[in-house]
């Protein structure tokens, strides 16, 4: 337990250091553009949707799984929700029944995504399909379904209340950032202070031990994927609001970035390790880098390549640090 603690601290230290370095680098390279309130506000509006999706990815990675269907889940939830809104609420003519439909739409997005999560969980735990394939299948299924429902068209025209979710501010703080902070806090509490969270970590580090300790592995997996689904639903609402529309195929490039964010934040893809705080730090680092490179006029494709390099660098550093700790431990004993 003690080694575990020091390791977590190390990770946070490294991440904080990288964060400071990137921040300092951007401030030096482009002080006039980077050090402005608008830049930070812009970042605060962009971060939440990626952040919520990364949380959805992270919780499945903690169990040693993966969820490739997060983007497709978010899109299909947004499409169902948007269809309810467009059919019943006219954004230009406020009516008394609007509030009811808006709440219904929000609940629909969350319910659809939770059902999809349940579906993934059942496929993985009861039918026994490896997570990467189960969620790949679900991803294809949902992408197809989204195209079939929308015929590839955009469903647009959201009422103001919905638009506020992604674009509003409360005392100069972007509302989506508040949503993200809330969901990140909930996830952190869920993972660290509930028995399900404990079981998720235990299953991730050793499913056999978890099985023999009397935990229902099936239940743990289903809870994990339902939770992952719910976070996709939350991301769906933010995305739908920011784009003022829903469509099949929005944000597909996010899929690999969420894995990058999780890995950079110290989540182990074999499962069992990872903290929300690490993920949040890595998200901020990635956001600063992508915004900074954008301000410097670097092509977005170059940014993609740089993200790949960072990912490898992070893994190599991990490997070296771990090797050193292992050496130290073996010397001590």
């Amino acid at each position: 337990m003690k080694t575990l603690l020091t390791k977590m601290n190390n990770e946070m230290k490294i991440l904080s250091l990288i964060l400071l370095l990137t921040f300092a680098l951007m401030s030096v390279l482009s002080p006039s553009h980077f050090l402005r309130l608008e830049t930070f506000q812009g970042m605060a509006f962009q971060l939440p949707e990626l952040g919520l999706l990364s949380l959805a990815m992270m919780i499945t990675m903690l169990t040693g799984g993966i969820n490739l269907s997060i983007i497709a889940t978010a899109n299909i939830s947004a499409i169902f929700s948007a269809m309810i809104l467009v059919a019943n609420v006219n954004p230009d003519v406020p009516a008394s029944g609007d509030a009811g439909f808006i709440i219904l739409a929000i609940l629909t997005a969350l319910a659809v995504s939770a059902v999809i999560g349940l579906f993934n969980g059942v496929l993985i735990s009861i039918i026994n399909i490896p997570p990467i394939l189960a969620t790949l299948g679900t991803m294809k299924l949902l992408q197809g379904l989204a195209f079939i429902i929308t015929k590839g068209y955009v469903i647009s025209g959201m009422p103001n209340a919905i638009r506020f979710i992604g674009n509003g501010t409360i005392a100069a703080v972007p509302f989506p950032l508040l949503i993200f902070a809330l969901f990140a806090a909930i996830m952190s509490v869920y993972l660290n202070h509930t028995s399900t969270g404990f079981n998720i970590f235990m299953y991730g580090s050793n499913p056999i031990a978890s099985f023999f300790s009397g935990t229902s592995n099936t239940k743990v997996i289903i809870q994990t994927y339902v939770m992952s689904g719910l976070y996709c639903g939350a991301a769906a609402l933010v995305m739908m609001s920011r784009f003022n529309s829903a469509k099949a195929g929005y944000g597909e490039s996010y899929l690999l970035v969420t894995i990058l964010a999780a890995v950079l934040g110290g989540v182990k893809s074999e499962g069992g390790f990872g903290q929300v705080s690490g993920l949040v730090l890595s998200l901020v680092i990635l956001q600063i880098i992508s915004n900074g490179l954008n301000l410097l006029g670097v092509s977005s494709f170059m940014t993609i390549a740089i993200w790949g390099l960072i990912m490898i660098a992070a893994m190599v550093i991990h490997f070296l640090v771990e090797k050193r700790t292992r050496l130290k431990l073996s010397r001590m004993s």
């Binding site: 040693g64 993966i66 490739l68 496929l123 039918i127 026994n128 399909i129 490896p130 990467i132 394939l133 189960a134 790949l136 299948g137 679900t138 991803m139 294809k140 299924l141 949902l142 992408q143 197809g144 379904l145 195209f147 079939i148 015929k151 590839g152 050793n206 499913p207 056999i208 099985f211 592995n217 690999l256 894995i259 990058l260 890995v263 893809s269 074999e270 092509s299 494709f301 170059m302 940014t303 993609i304 390549a305 740089i306 993200w307 790949g308 390099l309 990912m311 490898i312 893994m315 190599v316 490997f319």
Partner: protein, 337 residues
């Protein structure tokens, strides 16, 4: 285990036969030699990459970067043959060398730093693809040389249909066939092939048995890169244009084909026959949907259904067989991964 594998393949054949019967009953054009040769030609690109993925999966890894590798190899090949001339041998050589180098980098990263292969290859995919699009500006290449164009038209066997139009066994299909034969040879009859199975089945046992895991591991990723490069040339031959974004995004489709063919993500399992059947299943599905005039938007949906149903079925069988101990076996497999 062999019995199970056999079961899986017979089961795939049954699905393919039923699917073919349904399609033929709706559109008789499906079950004609012309359509079959056409399918063999247009799917050789997927077929070649699927063989590479099979090797990586057997070794217990996964590769996401191969479409990016194929694109880079294809693009460099096109630029060189347009600016410096050459012939088809030069073109293929350039592509496979570039592909092999990129694959080798993956292998080194996976072996030396023990980075999970999925993370490594997602990262290198971003690097390869990002740099390519950055350097080329995403420009398409249309003006491939005439000899390149005419090579793609070569047929080893030629038949004529009722209207007098020629069809037959394309040279591209022949390249695929060579790859398949090479793959069977390596996996069945060489120490290397057995080593790949052994390392994928149980890495520690393989190391203790004296298998050079460094060699098998770098080999599978390099071979994947080699085949990705070759597939890049085949793609250029088939469509006669080179677009930086035309292949990227196909990685999960190809992996799905191989896994449908019975390869396990935990490693140690998989066969060339199964892989070919997996490719055939998805190819026939797509072709059939087109022939039955189903709108293309349904394709993705059906692919999802097919993946979940057929993999779900075999996973459920495996679980039933092992009864309640399945949780242990499953996690042992995961541990081996």
């Amino acid at each position: 285990m062999k019995k199970l594998l056999k079961h899986h393949e017979t089961y795939l054949v049954i699905i393919i036969v039923i699917l073919s019967a349904v399609i033929t009953s709706r559109n008789a054009n499906f079950f004609t030699a012309e359509n079959m040769f056409d399918l063999l030609k247009s799917n050789s690109f997927y077929g070649i990459m699927a063989i590479g993925v099979l090797f990586v999966l057997i070794s217990g890894g996964i590769d996401i970067s191969f479409p990016a590798t194929a694109t880079v190899a294809e693009y460099i090949m096109a630029v060189v043959i347009i600016n410096m001339g050459g012939n088809i041998v030069v073109a293929v050589l350039i592509a496979v060398v570039v592909g092999s180098i990129l694959g080798f980098v993956n292998g080194l990263l996976v072996y030396n730093f023990r980075i999970p292969s999925i993370i490594t290859t997602i990262a290198t995919m971003n690097i390869y693809y990002g740099l390519l699009t950055f350097i080329t500006g995403g420009k398409w290449i249309y003006s491939l040389p005439d000899w390149f164009r005419s090579f793609a038209q070569i047929r080893l066997l030629t038949f004529y249909n009722a209207d007098g139009a020629a069809y037959g066994l394309s040279i591209v299909t022949f390249i695929w066939l060579l790859v398949v034969l090479a793959a069977v040879f390596i996996l069945r009859f060489t120490l290397l092939g057995r080593g790949i199975y052994a390392a994928g089945g149980d890495r520690k046992a393989a190391v203790r048995a004296g298998i050079n895991v460094f060699f098998t591991e770098t080999f599978v990723y390099t071979f994947m890169g080699f085949l990705a490069g070759l597939a890049g040339v085949v793609q250029a031959l088939l469509v006669q244009t080179v677009a930086p974004n035309s292949i990227v995004g196909k990685e999960l489709d190809v992996i799905a084909m191989v896994v449908l063919g019975g390869a396990s993500l935990a490693g140690g399992k998989g066969s060339v026959t199964g892989t070919l059947l997996g490719v055939a299943l998805l190819a026939i599905l797509q072709n059939g949907l087109t022939l039955m005039a189903v709108p293309p938007v349904w394709y993705e949906f059906f692919v999802g259904v097919v993946i979940l149903v057929s993999i779900g079925f075999s996973s459920l069988q495996a679980k039933k067989k092992s009864g309640n101990t399945s949780v242990i076996e499953l996690s042992l497999e995961e541990a081996a991964e």
